[in-house]
Amino acid sequence: DAGITQSPRHKVTETGTPVTLRCHQTENHRYMYWYRQDPGHGLRLIHYSYGVKDTDKGEVSDGYSVSRSKTEDFLLTLESATSSQTSVYFCAISPRLAGRTDTQYFGPGTRLTVL
């Protein structure tokens, strides 16, 4: 199994509070991703990073920010959580080797409930 951990694994918070989710990898992979998973929508990309301090928006980035100050850590922040952000959040990593099809390895997920 790829060395990916997510913390916390479960969190319940109230509307309007800030929340930060952490993804930590031990594989030294260049690319890291944050997805959310909701019934009927599969996985939707929130933000991704292609290196330290290099990030870009995904399909559903509104209301989320990210930071990557070290190769191994990718943080997802909800500045002011809303009930629509109740979801399961997955981090993924990828080596993105030149000339080879990308393969992403997923963490175990964080279940976030916003009341």
Binding site: G42, F90, T101, Q104, F106
Partner: protein, 111 residues
């Protein structure tokens, strides 16, 4: 935006039956992947198909990529309860830096 539609969304079958899951799009993908996800865990890659018309077999699972690289299918022969889970297809865009996921097919195989 590239969209991938999976069908059926839910499938409940008896052990020993065969099944096929479909993944369709109007967009062309440079490659397509199938993942399997169990409750409480992240998706795990099963296979990547790259060439139009490609067929790959993984024990009782057969994956096919459409000739035009817009669609794919997953066929399971003699399903077993251990096959139960959420099956996701994901297409890689031509830039290769993002995956677009389908909505998933939730499979339950009853003993």
């Amino acid at each position: 935006t590239q969209l991938l539609e999976q069908s059926p969304q839910f499938l409940s079958i008896q052990e020993g039956e065969n099944l096929t899951v479909y993944c369709n799009s109007s967009s062309v993908f440079s490659s397509l992947q199938w993942y399997r996800q169990e409750p409480g865990e992240g998706p795990v890659l099963l296979v990547t198909v790259v060439t139009g018309g490609e067929v790959k077999k993984l024990k009782r699972l057969t994956f096919q990529f459409g000739d035009a690289r817009k669609d794919s299918s997953l066929h399971i022969t003699a399903a077993q309860p251990g096959d139960t889970g959420l099956y996701l297809c994901a297409g890689n865009n031509n830039a290769g830096n993002m995956l677009t996921f389908g909505g998933g097919t939730r499979l339950m195989v009853k003993p």
